[in-house]
Symmetry: C2
Subunit: 331 residues, 2 copies
């Protein structure tokens, strides 16, 4: 049998109400009484039932997180940041994905309606954006971890995509490269545009134009990166520097370059984006724009906790700085 507050109350010769007061650090409890109650609690190892507290208080000290997929290379980092932060404040994390399509989303919706958690962390969901938006307007605290663009309708955390693109360009220019190519992410993503803009701006202010045929849209995958390079090579235009909009496509690109007889970095310098683990495992080691993934997760979690505890959130997104990690592929 579970030990309940009633048992504590009985042993300490007080009412349940008083035990509850002690538990929650409420004032109006005599010091000696409080101490007696606390001793009993320690003795019998009483811990309040999460369920009962949740029911009575209407809040569960649990937050939900909805992620499109857990197998993406940077999910682990973000998740770790989130979990560590929540944990430090005694919050639990309920994890959901929409991996199994509409049915997943349905299950998720049920958990939402069932009030299984107090607030929601979202990683830019592919399809569910509208639904999330509804929830948010209905009063569910939501914070979005936004790797793709900007969604001003939610509180969110993002990175300096534009700045990252600019840094990549500056580094390549500084190392003496003159002919630039880009393998982008999907063009309808805000982050793709931002990375491209930053990159392009630095180039043009350095006097290097970015030839339109040397900007190829891709899809953030390794194979996509390879295909993009084929296109670049087939364009017949020369290039000695390549900016890929994420690490996966950079890796695919490097491989394709090699297969086309270009050495990296001698013939073509390559810069990626993200700094996922593979960047430090591939050959050559990838120079890349680092997103502080773990910090992003942590920041989002902190923001959500803030709203849950009644603090007001700034209405502009939290933006964390990227940083250029120089490795072998673009020394």
């Amino acid at each position: 049998m579970r030990v309940t507050i009633a048992e504590v109350a009985q042993r300490a010769q007080v009412s349940k109400a008083t035990v509850s007061r002690v538990l929650n650090g409420k004032p109006d409890v005599d010091a000696s009484t409080a101490q007696r109650v606390r001793r009993v609690i320690d003795e019998i190892g009483y811990v309040p039932s999460a369920r009962a507290v949740g029911l009575a208080r209407g809040r569960t000290r649990t937050v939900g997180m909805l992620a499109p997929s857990l197998t993406w290379p940077w999910m682990g980092e973000v998740l770790q940041g989130v979990v560590d932060t929540l944990e430090a404040d005694g919050y639990g994390l309920l994890l959901y994905t929409v991996n199994r399509g509409p049915e997943s989303l349905n299950q998720f919706a049920n958990h939402v309606s069932a009030n299984a958690f107090d607030g929601l962390l979202v990683i830019e969901p592919p399809d569910a954006l509208h639904y999330i938006s509804t929830l948010y307007r209905a009063g569910l605290p939501v914070v979005m971890i936004d790797d793709r663009g900007t969604h001003p309708e939610f509180p969110s955390v993002a990175t300096t995509n534009r700045q990252g693109g600019a840094d990549a360009a500056r580094h390549l220019v500084a190392s003496g490269r003159t002919r630039f190519a880009v393998v982008t992410g999907p063009l309808h993503f805000g982050c793709t545009q931002a990375r491209l803009d930053g990159f392009r701006e630095v180039l043009s202010s350095s006097g290097f134009p970015l030839h339109p045929d040397l900007v190829v849209e891709s899809d953030f995958t390794t194979t996509g990166g390879g295909v993009a390079v084929e296109k670049l090579v087939n364009s017949g235009l020369e290039f000695d520097a390549l900016f890929a909009h994420n690490d996966l496509s950079a890796v695919g690109a490097m491989r394709a370059l090699r297969e086309n007889g270009r050495r990296v970095p001698e013939d073509v310098a390559v810069v990626g984006f993200d700094d996922v683990p593979v960047a430090s495992h591939c050959e050559p080691l990838l120079t890349t724009v680092r997103q502080p993934l773990q910090e992003m997760g942590a920041a989002a979690a902190r923001m959500l906790i803030s709203t849950l505890e009644g603090r007001q959130l700034p209405d502009h997104p939290t933006v964390l700085p990227t940083s250029l990690i120089v490795r072998e592929s673009a020394p």
Copy 2:
């Protein structure tokens, strides 16, 4: 204001008990009554409160998962398997790590005592094993995802480590290699022993001895793999095949081999273990023994659900088969 079961009851002109019966598919409800109740439920979009159900029933339809770290390269796959399976059965997943040391474990212990979840999924925890064991004996349903060895005290899922080692050996022998080296995992892990045994057995029955100086202990990291290869090279013994006990060390090993003037696979064929994403991103692509990570997660989740729903579990661990994925590093 939340819609409650009382409101449904009132609108459908029945008692709360009857609504509850309909909700839980209990028998003894008149078909037409049930239908009326269901209509009301749909109309006002009623969803039972998870908290209240949990309190009343004593079970939350939520399971906890304790993972040492979320950033390990294969965590994502396992997690995805777990989440998908749980979700399909309407269970939620509460995620914990012990990333922040003893304090994390403490927080976790609190959630356990608070009965925040019905059962626990564990990935072989570094330190907490004894504690988990206590919980298990105290009646908490536990299933362990066991990547390191065998822990007969728990229900668990594992892979055919020995078989995997044997497959690696067979493949290398078949491709004409004759001098074998091994970069192991930590020797006190059960999986390391199993992989080594399987490998060694096939070799000796093929008439190739495994020279003790060509078996080097490592730590499952990329740098560790590199260091191990240095030792192998310094031993002065020749080898034309290398079996690394995980992919990360295999990648480190390949790099070190190259730096020592050995070509992969021409001079040395390399086989890894795990088949994490990096295996298909590195250069050359890594031949490796695949662990069905997602399936392992799914299997563990299914086992846990089974016990939660009262079914008996077989008392031997579930063992999922590895499979050899042939890529470039050992064609």
